[in-house]
Symmetry: C2
Subunit: 138 residues, 2 copies
Amino acid sequence: MVADTWLEQLHDNGYRVTAARRAVVDTVHSSTHALTPIEVYDQARKKYRVLGLVTVYRTLEKLEELHLIQRVHQPQGCQAFISAGIGHQHLLLCKNCGDVAFFEGDDLDALTASIAKKTGYQIQEHWLQLFGLCGKCK
Amino acid sequence: MVADTWLEQLHDNGYRVTAARRAVVDTVHSSTHALTPIEVYDQARKKYRVLGLVTVYRTLEKLEELHLIQRVHQPQGCQAFISAGIGHQHLLLCKNCGDVAFFEGDDLDALTASIAKKTGYQIQEHWLQLFGLCGKCK
DNA sequence: TACTTATTGAAAATGATTTTCAATAGCGAA
DNA sequence: TTCGCTATTGAAAATCATTTTCAATAAGTA
Ligand SMILES: [Mn+2]
Ligand SMILES: [Mn+2]
Ligand SMILES: [Zn+2]
Ligand SMILES: [Zn+2]
């Protein structure tokens, strides 16, 4: 499975590759939905029955630290994680089924320049997230 | 104080105007920083000593319901609230001092149209938030 | 002023996340 | 391969944020 890259990254950063971590990594890596720790736990336990919820938290923490996953902020809550895109990407979430798509190529330079001028702020980062209905749900 | 509008709104929606609510409303209304429930509690207690933290939660809930305040999502957490802007506005946050500015006039129509085409999604809403340094901090 | 009932704060309950700890297992060195 | 060090594990306890319960109080209308 393609999740091998994540395991390699863990290993290259001095973390051990264990059965518990493999189960968590497989689960999160293969999901197109943002998953909460409990959801990861439930799914990963199908692959590795003795997994503990604490280990899910600890593994997610490391994956986030390595920028392999990212936290997804939504009106209903902000505990879910999803595979991080490569490079500068943003999320597009289906309000019906929760499916997540990535997109890039947003050009906010003109906007940020104008806002910087108006507000006197020096702008460094932006969060942009779109919500709607996916092809199947609309 | 200008917070009277919020109190009127509470009253017009069938909620009673109490000393506890006045203290919470004054605090949140006059802040240019996003405040967590505990922070609201600490500040509001200077105005109304016997205030309970539960009442802060309950009042914030009502203010949010009436769209007078909004939750602010940040890397460090998503529990803080700030006065909601009027109409369609977005936030610009100072990463140093936490000061919040509002802006409007973003035009994402071209972007969303292009993303809709590429992804097959029907786009309904967007979240946009900028981070940087305010005039004083930069 | 009197009455109805929304609101209050304290305390307990809940839910999510973190810490502690002794047993285990990954992995680099020999 | 085997060995030994130590990172990792899961259970249980602790912590932290938020919600619920409840009896006393006070807002607002008649
Ligand atoms: Mn958030
Ligand atoms: Mn906008
Ligand atoms: Zn969908
Ligand atoms: Zn600042």
